[in-house]
């Protein structure tokens, strides 16, 4: 779509006959819609091209990877996948298993811990609540650098290096305040009448939490679970710090090590493994994108 379409050199009179599409401002609603869709689609195509290229290249013979700009592989092959999967000291089965365990525990921990804290902030009254809530919001803006070194020292004193504990335990302690905030926003607008009804029926705080708040908050919990999954799956610095033994590595580490080990020679297998490493994220996204997009719109989560 040419730029002239939407930056016309001169203003044409409203009734001027349209000589050539693209030289005059498009005035009909249909024309404008076409132009808008064309622009939006062009930007999407440019943005997503690298991703599609990577997927296509991963199915090409290794010697063709560099030479083709197209997306569809003409000589379809799965060699890159079989070669890449077992290339390292440990196969990617190991890395995927490690990533799955860490990510799964992180999701459970984060959802439970954030939900507990969010219920307290959204519904209960206790001394210093406002101060603590302000501190919670403050930790949103705190750069993680300042806790990195002492946490490492602490975890190494605890003999937790080369275990998954330094990656998983913080999730059970709700250290990511974004998720608490997201859930507080959600629980706040749930009708309080249900709490009152449950209280009259003899529920304590735990009962209200378990029987009223949790079932009503399932959408928010789903959003938090998806984001935790994606962030943990992508996390690289954490595993890099705490998992130095190759049999403990996550997918991200295995992939990074693959770069160092192969350089340019095995680009096909590298792209194949890179494709596999983001496949779970893209898959989850396609299934749950409505949940994710609504979550981000209510909390500004990134």
């Amino acid at each position: 779509m040419s730029r002239a379409t939407y930056t016309p050199a001169t203003r044409t009179p409203p009734r001027a006959p349209r000589l050539r599409f693209g030289r005059t401002p498009v005035r009909s609603p249909l024309g404008r819609a076409v132009v808008r869709h064309a622009m939006l689609l062009t930007v999407i195509a440019i943005m997503l091209y690298p991703l599609f290229w990577m997927v296509g290249a991963s199915f090409r013979p290794n010697n063709e990877v560099f030479t083709t700009l197209g997306i569809w592989p003409s000589n379809f092959t799965l060699d890159n996948y079989t070669e890449g999967w077992t290339s390292g000291q440990f196969s990617f089965s190991r890395y995927f298993l490690n990533s799955l365990v860490i990510t799964g525990l992180s999701v459970v921990g984060n959802v439970v811990a954030c939900m507990l804290a969010a219920y307290a902030f959204a519904r209960l009254d206790f001394p210093f609540k406002r101060v603590l809530f302000a501190i919670m919001l403050g930790t949103l803006l705190l750069p993680y650098h300042v806790t990195l070194v002492p946490q490492y020292i602490m975890f190494s004193e605890l003999q937790w290096i080369n275990t998954i504990l330094p990656l998983v335990i913080p999730k059970f302690l709700a250290t990511d305040a974004f998720f608490i905030f997201l859930m507080v926003q959600f629980i706040r607008v749930l009708p309080r009448e249900m709490d009152d009804a449950a209280r009259i029926d003899g529920c304590g705080y735990w009962g209200i939490f378990r029987r009223i708040i949790v079932p009503l908050s399932l959408p928010a919990m789903g959003t938090v679970a998806m984001f935790t999954f994606i962030f943990t799956w992508n996390d690289f610095l954490g595993p890099l710090l705490y998992l130095s033994r190759p049999d403990m590595w996550t997918v991200a580490q295995g992939l990074n090590n693959f770069v160092d080990a192969t350089g340019q020679s095995a680009f096909g297998p590298l792209l194949a493994m890179a494709t596999l490493s983001i496949a779970p994220i893209v898959g989850f996204f396609l299934v749950t994108q409505r949940l994710l997009v609504e979550g981000i719109a209510t909390s500004g989560l990134k």
Binding site: A33, M39, L40, V43, I44, M47, L48, P50, L51, W53, F66, L69, L116, A117, Y119, A120, D125, F126, M136, T139, L141, L142, P143, Y144, H145, V146, T147, L148, V149, P150, M154, P170, L173, Q185, R188, V189, Y205, N234, F236, A252, Q253, L255, N256, V259, D260, L270, L271, A274, T275, S277, I278, I281, F285, Q289, V293, I296, A297, T298, G300, K302
Partner: protein
């Protein structure tokens, strides 16, 4: 009018619907056991706050005045680490790289995301598909896989050079040249504008259409409407997005690490602050020095955030009515 504001507004309207109840709730004494229950529910988060945030912050403040390598006990050195920072060429380089990255990618992300949000804010049928397609990269941007892909796309024989070749421009590797390497990372950050765009889009949908109708009646054109209605109404979200994007940009690590193979090269051109901190703290085990670096960052970001908040009353418009 931000989303959170509207949620709060909705909450307060439902309170007003039952004025006697909400009045009583505000005045009533805390129910017996409520304080205990509150702290019990909060206990995992409180433990995390104490042991994983506040404790380590204090420890790192102490370590920043010491020489510590994890093996021998910390040795007090006063302000030596801080003095050393300002004469460390790599530290100065890392500050320059990080500031350049922030100064280019934050406005880049904001402008692109606002432009796309405006284009999408027409309520057509394929909206959710477009939204999803624009949003996807922001989920992948911090992954090792995308950093590897970026090395390829901006590499010697990558897609960018292949396109440029066809129009007769011959470039070397964008990743391999100190003049361009950082800009490939800025492009990567702008590529992940989708999350910011969705926040803008949600904000645009909250602007009452009556405002535009009234302005059109008064003869305001599209550009005038944008400047006098859309932009002021969005300022709370612009503020919020500047804050979030900036904080995130300062924390970037993975792409620079993967693209430069941990070195911050070529010629320190991708030596992000975080990357240098990682190198000092965990490759060279200069943990005192790394802690000093962390505290300088916290103080600098704290001042920056305070200035941003102070500036808000001059340009952020909080509507006095819904």
């Amino acid at each position: 009018m931000s989303i959170t504001d509207s949620t709060r507004a909705r909450a307060s309207t439902s309170d007003q619907a039952t004025p006697s109840l909400s009045h009583r709730r505000r005045q009533r004494r805390r129910a017996p056991g409520e304080a205990v229950a509150g702290y019990l529910f909060l206990s995992p988060w409180l433990a995390g706050l104490l042991f994983l945030t506040i404790g380590p912050m204090v420890a790192s403040l102490y370590l920043s005045f010491t020489d510590y390598d994890l093996l021998t006990a910390p040795r007090w050195v006063g302000f030596d680490n801080f003095a050393q920072l300002f004469s460390d060429p790599r530290w100065i380089a890392s500050v320059g790289v990080t500031l350049t990255y922030v100064l280019f990618s934050v406005p880049g992300v904001l402008i692109v995301s606002l432009a796309v949000a405006l284009a999408l804010n027409k309520g057509f049928r394929l909206l959710s598909a477009y939204r999803a397609a624009y949003y996807l990269p922001s989920l992948l941007g911090s992954s090792v896989a995308i950093a590897i892909l970026w090395r390829q796309v901006f590499g010697d024989q990558g897609a960018v050079n292949a396109v440029l070749d066809r129009i007769g421009i011959h470039m070397g590797s964008w990743i391999g040249s100190p003049d361009t390497a950082l800009y490939t990372l800025i492009v990567l950050n702008i590529w992940t504008f989708g999350a910011t765009m969705i926040i803008f889009l949600a904000g645009l949908r909250q602007i009452p259409t009556e405002y535009y109708q009234a302005a059109a009646v008064d003869g305001a054109g599209k550009i005038r409407q944008f400047r006098s209605i859309t932009l002021p109404m969005l300022t709370p979200l612009i503020f919020f997005n500047i804050l979030l994007t900036t904080v995130n940009a300062f924390q970037a690590f993975t792409p620079a690490y993967v693209i430069s193979e941990g070195t911050g090269g070529p010629a320190n051109s991708t030596l992000f602050y975080t990357l240098y901190l990682y190198e000092q703290g965990f490759t060279r085990l200069e943990m005192g020095y790394a802690s000093a670096m962390a505290w300088v960052l916290v103080v600098a970001l704290g001042i920056g955030t305070a200035l941003l908040f102070a500036s808000a009353r001059y340009w952020v418009f909080y509507g006095d009515e819904r």
